[in-house]
Symmetry: C2
Subunit: 210 residues, 2 copies
């Protein structure tokens, strides 16, 4: 199909598609003449993914580019493929000067949980950054309760692994890990908002009735 139809099919304006092509977020179409490219179903699918990672995942363009490059590189080792794909997509990893204290707390947490984590896992640094920021902001109650939140994360990861186990095609598993992790962060955050609102409403109504 031509770029105009690709735009119709995906609901994304032509100039935006051209921008994604320039940025390498979308592979070039097949040249049907020197000035005309032809696009396929894989372009429609890729555009939907880019859009979701941008709008729902709120990932920076550079992180999406890295993530797509990993998706397009087959790797026989599924564990490594998933880890590599999600490497740049960790929230809070902008990292402006982390205290080493927070890093040691993350090491201690990992040891307490018995988690098997590579020494250069980006989430280590990201969590250290978040702990440091919470301290700087004078609100470190969540740090005190971090083991409780780690329980929550373990339960979420268990569900994630159950979903992965339903699939057998390696490419699909890595694709699903990306969608499920990035969009899943947003889903869990949204559900947490609802659960908070409900818990807050109940606590508030109790006060009102007292």
């Amino acid at each position: 199909m031509r770029i105009a139809e690709l735009s119709n099919r995906s609901g994304i304006p032509v100039p935006t598609i051209k921008y994604y092509l320039r940025e390498g977020l979308l592979p070039p179409g097949e040249l049907s003449s020197p000035n005309q490219a032809s696009y396929g179903e894989e372009h429609v699918r890729r555009l939907r993914l880019v859009r979701a990672l941008l709008e729902i995942g709120r990932l920076p363009i550079a992180a999406i580019k890295d993530l797509l490059a990993e998706l397009d590189t087959p790797d026989p080792n599924l564990h490594h493929a998933m880890g590599r794909a999600l490497r740049g997509a960790v929230p809070g990893s902008s990292g402006t000067g982390t205290g080493t204290v927070a890093g040691e707390e993350v090491d201690a947490l990992i040891a307490r949980r018995g988690w098997t984590i590579s020494p250069d896992a980006p989430a280590r640094r990201a969590i250290a950054d978040i702990i440091a920021a919470m301290r700087r902001l004078g609100w470190d109650d969540m740090v005190t309760s971090i083991d409780g939140y780690a329980d929550v994360a373990d339960r979420a990861a268990e569900l994630d692994m159950e979903i992965v186990a339903r699939h057998s095609d390696p490419d699909e598993i890595v694709y699903g890990a990306v969608v499920g992790t990035i969009l899943g962060d947003a889903l869990i955050a949204g559900l947490r908002r609802l659960a908070q609102e409900s818990a807050s409403a109940k606590a508030y109504e109790r006060v009102n009735r007292a």
Copy 2:
């Protein structure tokens, strides 16, 4: 203090501080002469918050502006104050054409959980958008397992409420709800990455040994 010292104290460059002032993310300093403003500790604290919401929370400038305006508006009703402050900061709420089907699924989920949720809660729409996006991307396994993720969210919200209950100053509670919710989303996402990596490593090693 002058803007140069505010920049030193916060580690944020003067041009960036001026941009935040123009955008209304930082209240103006007190004019000590027609061309010179003086800033206080509350400016240092506010700059740290803006930075964390931008870098860790990845919130758009407009959402941060709304959130800060709510923080600066005292409200005797804590439940409403928290809800209003967090209204714009829901992930995935950019909302380009949601299927009504997904909206009905969110209604059904809320009914099954027995959650008390206002009809116009932005998280309803956000979750519907995420469900619709997962379907479009051909990866709706998480939607099938959404009750499991709602359990996870309920447990997280329970911890959140325990933390709120440790505090009594209303302004501090609303401030803490904002920090704990936005930075907490990133913390939970980071912990989920670690838990996923560990679970994936164990599953992978098992396969290797077999």
